[in-house]
Symmetry: C2
Subunit: 245 residues, 2 copies
């Protein structure tokens, strides 16, 4: 048996997220189907995170164990020939038998796109949220710096999550404007369920005056989900990179 | 009657190009339907060019005459509420009654995207052509400079076109790489039918060694369509800007 490490890109629009579930087609299931077609064996694929329905990935990492002799580009080509248009393998390599794509990740980068033009943009229909009211991106970027560092992100975690340790370290949180496109970039050593979407929702609430400019330190202080802002829609979110040693 | 000037964005994938035709749904027809719904009157819309099936537009300009009192953002919002997800009005303004979006344009800029990664990219499925073999973009960019200036572009015009004057002036032709994405940018005072697609196809033939590095001056010399390269697929092409005085 060899453990293979796959890098994927996918558009999340047509999927009920990464993880296999009974209610709809997921990326994990779709990939497992392609692997079964190519190798003849159904393998369990382990992902680097559980992206929500509608969330996209420029780089998603996962592993599976196989005795198939295909490697590298040849396996990637074979899998891509059996995957739908909105999922593709970018890279395949061998890793150690004990490598784990989630536990061995030392961090990830997400981006969240906001189309801030007055009218909707067909090119950002599925991968950005449209906010027609002009956003004060400088104000958002200043507030975003309050996320930096090591904090208990419990208020930025969806209610009902069962994770025990909610302390994470955010090493980057930038809000940048390129014309009418506003992009929030967040890097951290790990992410809680809905963490980026609640962080972005909070920044949008600050921009809209529903929360004060200095709300974030107070939210950390209160340490309850209700103190933070709304959860921004899934479709604006893209997992952009996963970092390993 | 007032002549209104509309700026549109559209994803061309689901359309048989701009111009109304019997065989399929076009962007012009779709827009005319929305205008009729909003204003109550069916108006003829005049476009700045006739994009092919599958070609996209970040900025497409067109005009129509109306007695509807709606203007500017309010009309754009009303039209966008009646347009499908892949077409949207970005801007509406009044122009002189004799303004013509095609004859008054003094130039246009197109971009052509090539996804040059080894594996296909789901995010460039509809708006780029995938070429897996590494392209020598520096060689393509050097050859692209041979397009600059005033030439008879007859060899870069689809056979069967009825246009009489095939002389055009290209003011920009750049091939740039950003990671695995190669973008060809072409600006000219006007474009013949399939001109950018044949220019790009010729650059790709030069990159692939099917045409010599200095083929372009020789093609102008021979002045026949057969001398030039293949026609690159429509889906890589986007009308990016239209210039008016």
């Amino acid at each position: 048996m060899t453990r293979l490490f796959l890098t994927l890109r996918y558009r999340g629009t047509n999927y009920h997220g990464w993880q296999v579930q009974p209610n709809g087609v997921t990326v994990q299931e779709t990939l497992q189907d392609a692997i079964e077609t190519v190798t003849g064996v159904r393998a369990g694929v382990i992902g680097c995170s559980r992206t929500d329905a509608g969330v996209h990935a420029e780089k998603f990492c996962c592993t599976f164990d196989t005795e198939c002799p295909l490697r590298g580009e040849r396996l990637a080509l074979a899998l891509n020939a059996n995957l739908p248009f909105d999922v593709a393998v970018s890279d395949v390599r061998e890793v150690a038998a004990d490598f784990h794509p989630r536990y061995d990740a030392r961090g990830k980068r997400y981006i969240y796109r906001i189309w801030n033009g007055r009218q909707r943009n067909p090119f950002y229909e599925e991968n950005a949220v449209h906010i027609a009211v002009p956003l004060d991106d400088a104000k958002m970027n200043a507030a975003a710096k309050d996320f930096l560092g090591k904090h208990d992100f419990a208020p930025f975690c969806a209610a009902g999550s069962s994770v025990e340790d909610t302390v994470r370290t955010v090493s980057r949180c930038d809000v940048e404007r390129d014309g009418d496109l506003v992009t929030v970039t967040v890097e951290a050593d790990g992410f809680l369920y809905n963490m980026v979407r609640i962080m972005v929702g909070t920044l949008l609430d600050i921009a809209g005056g529903r929360l004060a400019e200095d709300a974030i330190p107070a939210i950390f202080e209160q340490n309850v989900r209700e103190a933070a802002g709304t959860t921004a829609p899934a479709k604006g979110l893209t997992l952009q990179d996963v970092f390993y040693d």
